[in-house]
Amino acid sequence: MTIYYIREGFRGIRRHLLMFLGSVAVITACLTLTGSFALLAENLDYNIGQLIDENEFVAYLEDGMDEDEAAGMESDILAVDNVRDAIYISSEQAMENYLERLEESDRLFADLPEDLLPARYTVYVENIDRLEETSQQVAALDGVDHVTVSLSVAEGFSSTRKVVVTVAALLLAALLAASLLVIFNTTRLAMQGRMEEIAVMKIVGATNGFVRGPFVVEGAVMGLVSGGLACALERGFYEVFQQIIESYQLADLFYVIPFRQVRTIVFAVYLGGGLFIGIFGSVAAIRRLLKV
C-alpha cells in the first residue's frame, strides 16, 4: 500500500505540476522570510547579550590589607551567589591603569604614592537582573570597604534585551501565523481541483486514510523541496548580510554569528518545518472533502 501511496503521490505532482510549483514557491518564500527574521533576532539578541556580559561592578577593599589577604578575598567573592568571575587589581595596578588613562600623567601625577588607590576586585555577574542584590552581598563581606555599580546601565541593557526579545517573538509569531495561512490557502486551492477525484474515491468505499495517503506523500515532497530551497536561499542571504556589515565597517559594533554555527539548526528547522507544513497543509486542505 505504501508503494501505491508513493507512486500516486508522484503521479499527483506530475499531473498538477503548476499547482505544486506554486505551493513550493509560497512555502519557500514564507520559510525564508520567517527564518531570516528569526536569524536577525538571534544576532541582535547575541550582540546585546555580549554587552550585558561585559557588565560589572567594582568592589573596593579596606585600607591596610596586605597583598596576600587581598588576593585571598577572591574565593569569598566567588562564593557569593550569581558571581561569575572576580578579577583582582592591586593598588599599584589600579594606579597604573589610572595614569594610563590621563593625559600628561607623567608631569602632574608622577609624585603620587603608588598605593594611593585602594586594591579592588572587578566582579562579573551571571544574571544582570540581580546585579544590585549581588553587589550588596559582596559589599557585606569582611574586608570589602564599598562597591560601585552602574545600575542604570545594567538596567538599560536588560530592558533593551527584554524589549527586543518580546518584539521579535511577537513579530515572529505573526509572521509564522501569516505564513501558515497563506500556505494553507494555497494548498487548499491546489486541492480544489482534486475534489471530483476525492469524491469518487469516497463513493467507491475508500477509507480516509487511503484517500489521504498520496496527499501526504505530495505534501511531504512539497515540504522537503521548499525546505531545501529555503536553506539555499537563506545561506545566500546570510552571506550578503555579512558582507554588508563588513563593507560598512560595522563588524566591531555588530558581530554576525558565522553561518556554520547556525547551519545545522537552520537546515533542521527548514527541512522539518517544510515537511510539517507540507503534510499538515495538504491533509488539512482535504479534511473538508473527506467528510462526504
Partner: protein, 235 residues
C-alpha cells in the same frame, strides 16, 4: 435489501422536509424506479442510502447495515456493498478505463492479479473490452456510462444505485443503459434502484415504481408506469 421506516430529512436552515415520513422496502433482487418531479426528494433518498447525508428522523437499513448506528469510520466498508452510478459518470479523467475499474478494488487492497482478471471480466460483460486502454474523454457519453456501470459492478455489489443515469444520454442510449441495468438485475440477481425522469422508458420497462412528490411517497406500484394512478403529484 433496502428498508426505509418513517424516514424524514430536513437540511440545515431549510423550512420544509426534503423527505418526509418515507416508508418503503426494496427486497433482494428487485428492480425499482424512483420517480417524481424536480425537488421531490429523489436525490435526497439516494444520498441517504449512500450515507452522503444523515437522516433527521426514522431508520434506514441497507444490506444488513443499520445506517442510524453506522459509525463514520465504518461508512467506507458499507459503501463497498453498493455500486453507484451517476448522471455525470464521475470517472477519473486522468485514469484509463481499466485503471478506473481497477481503482475500486485497489481501494480495498485486492491482489493485482485478481484485479486484472476482474477488470477483463466486467468489461466483457458490459461489452467495452476493446476500450480498456482509452481515457474517459476519448469515449462517447453512452460508453462512459457503460464504464461507470462496469465500475459499479467491480466489487459484486448487493445493490446498484443509479441517480439519473440517462440524464446525459440520447433516447437510444438511455434505452440501452436501462436494458443493461435490467440485465444486471436478471442475470446477476443484483438489487437495482434507479432514480429517473425518463417517463417513456419507465413505462416500457414495466417495473416497480415508487412515486415521490414534495418529499412524500405518493404512490408505490408493482409493474407501474410513470403516471401512477392515485398520485396527485406535480409534473
Amino acid at each position: 435489501m433496502i428498508d426505509f421506516q418513517h424516514v424524514s430529512k430536513r437540511y440545515k436552515g431549510a423550512e420544509r422536509f426534503a423527505v418526509e415520513d418515507a416508508t418503503f422496502q426494496v427486497k433482494d433482487g428487485e428492480f425499482v424506479f424512483l420517480v417524481g418531479p424536480s425537488g421531490s426528494g429523489k436525490t435526497t433518498i439516494f444520498k441517504l442510502i449512500t450515507k452522503e447525508e444523515p437522516l433527521t428522523e426514522g431508520s434506514i437499513q441497507v444490506n444488513s447495515f443499520d445506517l442510524n448506528r453506522l459509525k463514520h469510520r465504518r461508512v467506507p466498508f458499507y459503501r463497498r456493498t453498493l455500486g453507484v452510478v451517476f448522471q455525470d459518470f464521475r470517472l477519473i479523467q486522468t485514469k484509463t478505463v481499466a485503471e478506473n475499474l481497477a481503482f475500486v478494488m485497489k481501494v480495498i487492497n485486492i491482489d493485482p492479479y485478481f484485479i486484472d482478471d476482474r477488470v477483463d471480466e466486467v468489461l466483457n460483460w458490459v461489452d467495452m473490452a476493446d476500450k480498456k486502454q482509452r481515457f474517459p474523454h476519448e469515449l462517447s457519453g453512452g460508453e462512459q456510462q457503460r464504464v461507470s456501470i462496469a465500475r459499479a459492478l467491480m466489487n459484486r455489489p448487493e445493490v446498484i444505485l443509479a441517480d439519473e443515469p440517462t440524464g446525459n444520454l440520447d433516447p437510444e442510449l438511455s434505452r440501452d443503459t436501462l436494458r443493461l441495468f435490467e440485465r444486471i438485475n436478471r442475470e446477476l440477481k443484483t438489487t437495482v434502484l434507479v432514480v429517473t425522469h425518463e417517463k417513456v422508458l419507465v413505462d416500457e420497462m414495466n417495473k416497480r415504481v415508487i412515486y415521490l412528490d414534495r418529499g412524500r411517497i405518493v404512490g408505490d406500484r408493482q409493474q407501474g408506469t410513470y403516471e401512477i394512478a392515485g398520485a396527485k403529484g406535480r409534473r
